[in-house]
């Protein structure tokens, strides 16, 4: 058996990518979908990684709330305090950022220390 290196990078392995960024000295936050209701496009466990320098990878929705999550991530990077965000059609903030799918979801945002 010949084991070729490097192993193929999984297209959806956001955490591994975030860890690489962190190891390279970036300030990184990771957002993870923890719970969904209705027609949320990304299931629990889906991740979005962002850096202070402006890198972004992955997704927690179909693109509707990534902007708001990235803003929250910047705050978590500054304070070190994790946040549990709630997005849904009854949520004013979601209207603001436009959760067009009509789904509801919770997103946990944490800093990679």
């Amino acid at each position: 058996m010949t084991d070729a290196t490097p192993a193929p990078q999984q297209a959806d392995d956001i955490l591994a990518l975030a860890a690489q960024w962190r190891a390279a000295g970036e300030q990184v936050a990771v957002a993870t979908v923890t719970e969904t209701w209705g027609s949320s496009p990304r299931r629990a466990g889906s991740q979005l990684a962002v850096t202070v320098s402006g890198k972004m990878a992955g997704s927690v929705s179909g693109g509707c709330i990534e902007g708001a999550v990235a803003d929250a991530a910047m705050k978590t990077i500054q304070t070190g305090v994790p946040q549990l965000l709630d997005f849904g059609i009854t949520n004013e903030r979601a209207w603001e950022v436009g959760l067009a799918c009509g789904g509801k979801l919770k997103v946990f945002v944490e800093k990679l220390a």
């Binding site: 070729a4 490097p6 959806d12 990771v30 466990g45 800093k111 220390a113």
Partner: protein
């Protein structure tokens, strides 16, 4: 996430150990499971999440926990380092599969034709014995050569592989089933083989055939109604 937890998680994933990151909500306190420090209720919930392969938030007696499942990637064993395999392998990697290409014909199974995947040039039965297909393994045979396909299918049928596909026309497949019957496989076992493999897209080119195979694989992986429809096609 603390550097210690991230390091432990990265090590577990590199070693292909199934683990769960449990996060207490909303405080964010975290723990890697399985762990001797976990309470029995949390340990049991994590084991269930791994088994279902689904991350989710659970409400336990001590509050809400998000259980993030990190199972090792599913494996795809491709028997036959042929032209269709060259299209199939990179697409399968995109789907998060750990791909192993098996072909004893050294001129087919080259790193040049298949960069960045594990290549085995053993005979398919020996390769399958070494790989020990489990319930997170899929097997697809592409050689059209009974000498190579049959031993691989024989071993796949003796395993818990969750997806078994064989390339070839209906006529070829009927002949294949006859040979496998002679090896002692019953009808229930034979019905596990998806043949002709893939969703019926009228695929013509190698990438189209690869796409039809992976489309069927996704239907099976996600338990879609299409998955049962395609299983019935073999019997029809």
């Amino acid at each position: 996430m603390t550097p210690d937890l991230l390091a432990a998680l990265t090590a577990a994933r590199a070693a292909k150990r199934p683990v769960v990151v449990a996060t207490r909500l909303p405080s964010g306190e975290q723990m890697l499971l399985p762990s001797p420090d976990a309470g029995p209720e949390l340990a049991a919930a994590a084991a269930r999440a791994l088994d279902r392969d689904e991350s989710d938030t659970v409400k336990l007696a001590d509050g809400a926990w998000f259980l993030h499942v990190f199972n090792p990637p599913q494996r795809l064993v491709v028997v036959g380092a042929v032209h269709i395999a060259q299209a199939l392998v990179p697409m399968a990697a995109q789907l998060g599969l750990n791909v192993i290409v098996v072909d004893p014909r050294g001129s087919f199974a080259t790193a040049e034709r298949f960069p960045n995947v594990t290549i085995m040039t053993d005979w398919p039965d020996e390769a399958m014995d070494a790989l020990v297909p489990d319930a997170r393994t899929a097997v697809v045979t592409l050689t059209h050569d009974p000498k190579l396909d049959d031993p691989a299918l024989d071993r796949a049928l003796r395993s818990r592989a969750f997806y078994i596909g064989a390339l070839g026309s209906r006529k070829t497949h009927a002949a294949r089933l006859k040979r496998l019957r002679e090896l002692g496989h019953g009808e229930e076992a034979l019905a596990r083989i998806r043949g002709p493999v893939g969703l019926d897209l009228e695929a013509v080119t190698a990438p189209e055939i690869a796409l039809s195979i992976l489309a069927e694989f996704v239907a099976v992986r996600r338990n879609a109604p299409l998955a049962t429809k395609t299983a019935a096609k073999a019997a029809a």
